[in-house]
Subunit: 459 residues, 2 copies
């Protein structure tokens, strides 16, 4: 191994460890440090170059991270010239929004409101040292979490379900695909048009039969459902995406009647924000547990990174599930399941969702007030603005949808048009309408985004 | 709230907290403590009954756990008589084995060999306090882990793949279903019969077209493959499940030739234990990256609870993946991804898998020696016993398969017959053969299990 001699400058704009990293990287690329050669120990190099060991540590870490070195446990660091890792990951992320300051995303979550302290504390108490937690675990999820969810559904929504009807999975996509498999080839899955694409696409992707019925802004198209060949209808009774539509008690009853009208009819009830909804209506599953598959998540009530989701199955379907999916392995991190279970059992989940309800109510109010107290007021109509983390704004100021969208964009606000959620044409949907998601924006940012929309759209 | 008066006995066989729990539970069920009533604070009850606060804490925790109480944050504990949670989860687990002492499971992992200390340390360094980690994350997985896997594949197996071709998912089932979706409706997925059911069933379940070709104990049925309509063939070149068969270099070459013989032909290369295999052959992907989808996991090289798995896609399929699955959300715990990435980057994964290789070699040797040095030796033949955590034992002592299985069962040893893995008849498979999985058994247990099989089968 050669001695590495570099002259680094403390007065440079670039930190010492970056300078060191760049020097070593250049030597590895040029071959001055041969491929596979052992690099000096951190201590030796620090002494040689009169640097702190920490600086060398950081530089070596970056070399590993970018593929120019490899660590061998209890041996040291070795140069690596030809690693494939040197290519950067360049594909654009679905969630990337270059050049935009305010993203009115319907999926936005206020990450500042995540109860990190409580979660961190719970997580510290649950450790890998428990060999019980290292195995596969129960295929339907940790029994502690299934019990906690059962308790929670009862406590928050009056839903009575035994823990053995609950199945935990890593995400709604996967659970929906499992339902697709359980229902068998004769099932026809119904979705409203427009609907939540992340629920529709997984079912569509497994080549299950699907049928669309046209959504309405203020009611559920039960008449269309009855005329269709659908037997498994996906419904968000409390907050339909993207319209924000909420069903009346009468309409909920009609849906239940439909489900009960034929032995093979089922409802998938998916209201992901129910735990922090404003005055939610009754759940379909609470009235009709034998005909409703309930799909719940902790995406937004805890954090997206806890992408945990769960199903509550009718007894009969649970038996089919057992039979058709014998090899199912639960995919959700077992440790995170334990954390969520303890969070619920401690009563903190309930108070946290109450906090979220108030937070989003306040944010919603800021956005509504800003828009309705503006010169734009006579030209807009809000839909579904009494609950949730988004609502629909319909703009009637003479501009086209594309003009409205571009103008907002030029003002740094990214909006998703309601029409972009359409899978097929639907004349029930108002034109020039956009989803205003305010979940992830701070209060000040909501005011500012509103101001910019008003500027962009006031003629 | 009534005062709770119970007389608990320190000399009872039942711990104080259990006695307290039973008393309160009985009062809640009988209605002496009304449903919904607030229970005394832990401190007050501890003082009243002259118990430690800890004892009351444990009793309350058990009440919550079993559904007889509910905690409200910053308020206290409330009685709950009618919670649905009171029903136990009674369904048998797929992995349950009542009455059996030694399970020769092909999936067994030595949980004692999980590097819990290193993982716990890494996990402590990564915290929920980092808001970066609370969001959805990149849909294809943490870039740190994708880089680390790219590095690892190169370092351990000479596989060159850039991180942008790697997709991380929560489990092989889900990733295989995604491949099923990406390949489109015209694809015909090929599996050997028998094969790893947990790979076959997810593809089958999404109603993709599948075709089986009969496996052979000592070679790959390339001729059958060529005659079939399969265009996506699932292959375990190094260790076929359940036969333990390893392919020669020539046979690997034949498979690659087949893949290259038509534009739509692809291979899914799935050798889950490759990282700690004994003298593995070359990987198909390293010779033919444009035609091979590599499927890897950390199920056994780290721990089942880290049910992480990943795909390496050919460039062209990656583009199809981007197009067909735009809404895909990565399902693997982000924190656990970070932990695994750091574990790999530190060089510890490599030394850990080397340790696993030695451990399983030693275990394999104990089992082989015990069987081959026994009176049973003339009547048995071992298949695929040079690598892995299981091998096949073929018994020719005149007993039927059912007799062999029952005799082993009576001696407390659970065995899975090779025939149980068959999806259809296959005359290439030897009769009276069993999978001997020794992964999860301790060394002494392996000796004991071997002794019992010898006893059970020696006439």
């Amino acid at each position: 191994m050669k001695n590495l001699k570099y002259s680094l400058s403390k007065s440079s704009a670039s930190p010492l460890y970056i300078q060191l990293f760049e020097n070593i990287k250049a030597d590895i690329i040029s071959g001055r440090i041969p491929d596979g050669e052992r690099l000096p120990s951190r201590r030796a190099l620090a002494e040689d170059l009169k640097l702190s060991k920490n600086t060398v540590e950081l530089a070596y870490h970056k070399l590993i991270d970018e593929g120019y070195a490899v660590a061998r446990s209890r041996s040291g660091y070795y140069a690596r010239r030809t690693s494939p890792i040197n290519t950067d990951i360049s594909e654009p992320d679905f969630y990337g929004n270059p050049g935009i300051t305010y993203v009115m995303s319907q999926n936005g979550t206020d990450l500042g409101a995540v109860p990190t302290q409580a979660l961190t504390k719970l997580r510290r108490d649950i450790s890998y040292d428990n060999p019980e937690l290292l195995g596969y675990g129960h295929k339907y999820g940790e029994s502690s979490l299934r019990k906690a969810i059962s308790h929670n559904l009862y406590d928050l929504h009056g839903i009575t379900c035994t823990p053995d009807r609950i199945i935990i999975g890593a995400g709604i996509d996967y659970l929906l695909q499992q339902i697709g498999c359980v229902m068998g080839e004769s099932a026809v899955f119904g979705f409203e048009n427009p609907c939540f694409a992340r629920s529709y696409v997984p079912i569509k992707n497994i080549a299950a039969r699907t049928e669309l019925i046209n959504a309405r802004m203020d009611s559920f198209p039960t008449d269309e459902l009855k005329k269709s060949s659908i037997n498994v209808m996906y419904v968000s009774a409390d907050m339909h995406f993207p319209t924000g539509r909420r069903l009346s008690d009468r309409q909920r009853k009609e849906l239940i009647d439909w489900a009960e009208s034929a032995p093979d009819n089922y409802i998938i009830e998916a209201d992901f924000d129910l735990d922090f909804a404003e005055n939610p209506g009754y759940t379909l599953i609470s009235k009709c547990p034998d005909k409703v598959i309930f799909l719940g998540t902790f995406y937004r009530s805890i954090a997206p990174a806890f992408s945990g989701a769960f199903l509550v199955l009718p007894d009969e379907l649970k038996r089919v599930y057992d039979r058709r999916l014998p090899y199912y392995i639960n995919l959700k991190s077992r440790l995170e399941q334990q954390v969520v279970a303890e969070f619920i059992k401690s009563g903190k989940y309930r108070s946290h969702t109450e906090k979220l309800r108030k937070l989003y109510k306040e944010k919603r109010s800021i956005l509504k007030t800003a828009l309705l107290d503006s010169p734009l007021a006579p030209h807009i109509k809000l839909h579904g603005a009494d609950s949730g983390t988004y609502f629909i704004i319909e703009v009637k100021n003479g501009m086209s949808e594309q003009e409205l969208k571009s103008a907002a964009n030029r003002h740094g606000v990214k909006l998703i048009p309601l029409s972009a959620c359409l899978i097929a044409m639907n004349d029930n949907m108002p034109p020039c309408s956009f989803i205003l998601g305010f979940g992830e924006l701070k209060k000040a940012a909501i005011s500012e985004a509103a101001k910019r929309m008003i500027q962009a759209w006031t003629l």
